[in-house]
Each structure stands twice: as C-alpha cells, then as structure tokens.
Amino acid sequence: MSEAGKSSADENGALVEARDLRTWFPIRRGLFTGASGHVKAVDGVSFSVRPGRTLGLVGESGCGKTTVGRTILRLIPATGGSVLYRGRDLFAMPPAELRRMRRHMQIVFQDPMSSLNPRMSVGGIIGEPMQVHGIASGAERADRIAALLHRVGLDPAYARRYPHEFSGGQRQRIGIARALALDPEFIVCDEPVSALDVSIQSQILNLLRDIQEERKMAYLFIAHNLAVVEHFADEVAVMYLGRIVEMAAASELYANPRHPYTLSLLSAIPEPNPRPTRTRTVLSGEVPSPANPPGGCAFHPRCPLTRHAAGEANATETVEIESGGERIRILKRCRCEVPPLETRGGAGPHAAACWVNG
C-alpha cells in the first residue's frame, strides 16, 4: 500500500479488520508429551472496527472476548486468520514495522491495580510509551504528561505520586492517560469499568466517550454488562464459546435480538425496576468448557428454541440428547452442523448464527 493509503482506512472503510481469527491454547497433560488437545478460545472470529466508532464485544466468562482483544494486538500469538490494520496484515509484519504500528493501537485493562507498575511514578508510567517510541523528551514530555493527566481529570501534580496512592477510579484514569500517551487511533478497552464502584463507572464511561469525540478514536469495547455496552457501542458482537453468534448495530441488536443466546442474555439482566416489565427465560445448564465444546451449534444443549422447534418438526429431523441430567429432543441439524454467521437485511445488516432463527 502507498504512503497515501496509510492515512485512510482500507477499501471496506475498516480501521481494524479481523478475518477468521483463531487462537487455540494447547492442553498438555505431561511434561514430555505433546498437546493432547486444544482450548479453542477463539475459533473463527471475523469483524471490523471503523475509524472513530465503537464495536462492543460481549459474552460471559470463558467465551473468548478478552483473548480476541489481546490477539488482535499481538499480545497473544494467533493460531490462524489475520488482522488487517488499515489494510495491512499485522501478523505478517516485520518486527520493526510492527513496533511502529503499535503506537496506533493501545489497550486499557480491567484491573487498574495489576496493570500499573507499583514501583513507577505516575509520570513514569504515562511517559514510558513516549520514551519507547522516541516522542518528546525532557520538558516537552513533562508538559505532555501534565496535559494528559489534566485531560483524564487528575491534578498534573500527581505525576510524582505512585499507583498505590490512588483509588480504583483514579487508577483507571491513569491507565487511560497511558493509553492516550501516543495519541492512538484504536484502543482495546477490556472491561474498563467492571472493577469499579457504580458511581465511578459512569464517570469513566463519560471520560472514554468525550475522548473519543475529541480525538476520533475507534474502540473495541469488551464487556460482560449488556446495559453498559448498549449505552456505549455503535455495533455489538455477541460471543459464545469462541465464536460470534450475533452481530449488528447496537440499536438493531437490542431491539430485535435473533440468536437465542442473545435473547436469554438480555432477559437474564436484572431490571432496576421493582415492577418488572420483561418476562424472563432462565437458561438451564452451564456454559460448557471451551476445551470440549458441544458439536454443531455450541449452544444446542441450553437452547430453548431448538427444543421448541423439535416439538413441531418431523421425527426424522430430530435427535434426543442428554443435557443437565435430562433427556431432551432437539433438531438434528443443531446437534450436527455449525450454523454460519449469516447476514440478513432489516434495519441495517444483522448477522446471526442460528439454524432455527437465523
């Protein structure tokens, strides 16, 4: 790609594009034996993030959402697939070029205590990326650090203090200032508010939003709280056991959820209203282990839709399985074939991976 091409997004309008991303972790049972299997933490995930926009990635623990965020930044090696940044493949990039690219891509972690070095001053933490990338030194760096601290709502005099002197919310502000130090175009926010108190969460969410508007940054916003994601994201992808099961614009996905997993996730959120308006589908069973996921559609042992559909289907199209200690009848197709993530029109593209309600 030409130099001119660097300043714009690729032909699809995407800043970051993941194609068929796979991250598998080997399971080793002994010291000298090879891998006996794999935990397929991420197994064929594709999405794109447009400049200045936010893609929300939601799912329950173990669904692979954090691994996606880390894999696209090459903090964890990928097993397969590719990540294009402005059309350039990050996985095929020589190390020197990758290092130059890294200044455009940053991450804010969930736990602001364990992601800040306790032995470095706040100024040192925020200034280190500038040092590594050779941007600004001496008084100019100090000025930039002061400006960043001011931007995230902290007193610039705090640059001389240490992380333990701050509250959780203040530490998260420091983490955000560090991520902004190189003026990136893309930030992975990995559960940035879930470790914080309720009254502090809204402060941090507003800060992230204001910064995005000022600097036109793109976010990959990873969270398990669907209400927070609805508030924050332009588009939303729902993950279950290493795959995206539904993806659409946030307003569309919340108004017309199609995948039964999305439906049950939404209905499981307790409503802050003592006179409830929604009816609830309580899912039976647990999230299966990603080391040994169910075949076909990974959601089939817990899926209420396929059970319902099996009741109306021809007996030859159904199969009996055991789930949570009971025998249930489901569609054979859900048990045997992986449903593709298929886009269907509507109010904007809306993709769902489901045989019954795809």
């Binding site: 969460q201 809204s202 402060q203 209400a227 996730l265 959120i269 802050p272 899912l283 200690g325």
Partner: protein, 350 residues
Amino acid sequence: MQKPLLEIRNLTVAFETDAGRIVPVRDLSLTIFPAQTVALVGESGCGKSVTALSIMRLIPQPPARILSGQVLFDGRDLPALSEKQMQGIRGREIAMIFQEPTTSLNPVYAIGEQIAEAIRLHQGVGRRAALAIAERSLADVGIADPHGRLREYPHQLSGGMRQRVMIATALSCRPRLLIADEPTTALDVTIQAQILELLRKLRRDRGMAILLITHDLGVVAENADVVGVMYASRMVEFAAVEDLFDRPLHPYTQGLFRSVPKLGRKMQRLETIAGTVPCPSCFPSGCKFHPRCGRTRELCSETEPDLREASPNHWAACHFVENYSGAAAVAPMLAHRREIVAGDREETAA
C-alpha cells in the same frame, strides 16, 4: 404486630488500627421480619459487609470492637452471648453465603464431607445420616446427580455449581435467616439468574428471611422487599423497594439511580456523582456525602443528619429532604413483603 426476626439497634463497629481508630459502621439500625428479603446496598467501603460479619460475629475482636448497639435475633442480643452460645446460632439459625465460592470451600475435602460437617455439628447425627441430608440439600438447590457429586472436589465444579454447594451447606440446617453477601457478583448473568431464582424459591417454600448484600440495583429491584442504602458507614435511606425506586429521597440514592445505564434507554452521556467513594480512614465531617452532593449547604459539613421518617414508612438521612422533621428512628421497621407468586414471571426453559 408481628415481631421482627432480626433487629439491629444503633450498631457501631470500630477497628483499632496502628493508624488510629476507624469506624466502618456507625449508628446502624435495621429490622428483618420472617420471610422478608432486606437488601443492603452500597459501594465498596460503605460498611455493608462489616455489618453482616458483625451479625454473625465473624469479625475478629480485636482489632474490631462493637462500640455500642444491639443485634437482637429473636429477642437474644447476639454480641452479648458467649462464643459457645453463638456457635449454636451461627450456621444453624443464621447462615451465610459469600461472594467468592472458590475461597469459601476447602479444596482438599470432597463437598459431601464439607456439607456433612455442618450437619453433624448442629444436628448431632452420624456421618452416614449427615451425608444423606447433604444429598437432599444438593438436590434442593437443583444439582443433578447429587449422589455422585458428594464425592467430588471443589475444583471439579464450575463457579455456579460451587455457589449452589455453598447455598446447600448454608441451608442444610434450615436456618431462619440467610445472609447473602454479594452472592452472584462473581457469576455470569445467566448463572446469576438461576441462583436468584433459587433463593426466591427457598424463601417462598421455607419462609426464610434473607439479608441480601449487593451493589447491583437490578438484583435489589427484583429480589428485595425492603432496601437499606448505606454510604460511608451510615444508613442513609430505608424504604420498601417500590417506594425507594419510585421516589428516592437521599441525594446519594438519586445519584446512584441516575448514573446506572439502563437497558433500552440509550443516552449520550451518563449522569455522574462527582468525586470518589471515601475510604473509612478519611470520612469527611458532618454529612459524609456532602463533598459529593449537589445540594450541600453550610449545615451539611457541620452536622450529621439522623435517619428520620421523611414520609410514611420511608426513612432518609438528609437535612434537605422534604418533611425531614419526624423523630429520629430508633430502628426503622417495615414488615412489607411483596407478593411472590410461584412462576409468575419465570419462564424456565426446560
């Protein structure tokens, strides 16, 4: 009038530390009636867990000290009991479940042994009989194949299963009061829904009272009859759940409600409460919320407001709540219970 099961009157708990005395719970009053769920809501450091541990007498003394107040359980003042008498109540009449089921279970014992231990201790039955009761308890909390599970170890279970085991242990002696300290915070939402449904069922079937400690307003709205809001060691508001959500009186409660993103209502910006949650060693003077409050006047930094009945059956501790003139509450009492009809809104997918 019905008698409360638990009545906390003006409880003040202090910790003596090297850096001086800190007071995580001050002048706290609370009542729980049989078959009632009372939620205690607040952010980190507000004193809600210390309150729970003080009821159970599970805080080490020293460094902790109950400076004043009573904790009356069925008429008996728990802090005044001997440790031996307390052992007859703890686990038997009042049971507790914790946030993190992994650290609350012993990793080197099979779960059957752990549940049976409590049963043998409190019910004086033999090992075999205790294991049979343990098996029934596991079945009661919805664990499939309870007989096989008795021999499994905590690491073989998922987080949701472990929390079910904790609940089975807590319920094996049929306590009259269950203290649940953030019982679902460590769990995923679909598992949280299962556990909360289980707690509602147990309350319905056994008439058990629950003190539910949480920071999640959604969990409160769906499960509590009565809610106490705590901020920086004090109870700042106490009301029936409907009244509290319809018309929160205290500025902290109002700010908390406004700052939480709600499903189905997309907003450009969230409202916030300025400042940070104070830690117990640096509580401000006067009303402890005044540095973060939009309504602060001079009085607020000087005098701490008492919890008063500002409208019928609705208590608040703020100088500027309308009708803030009633008598200071000795212990706010509300026997209110919501109707819970079996299966009225749960549509279990099975």
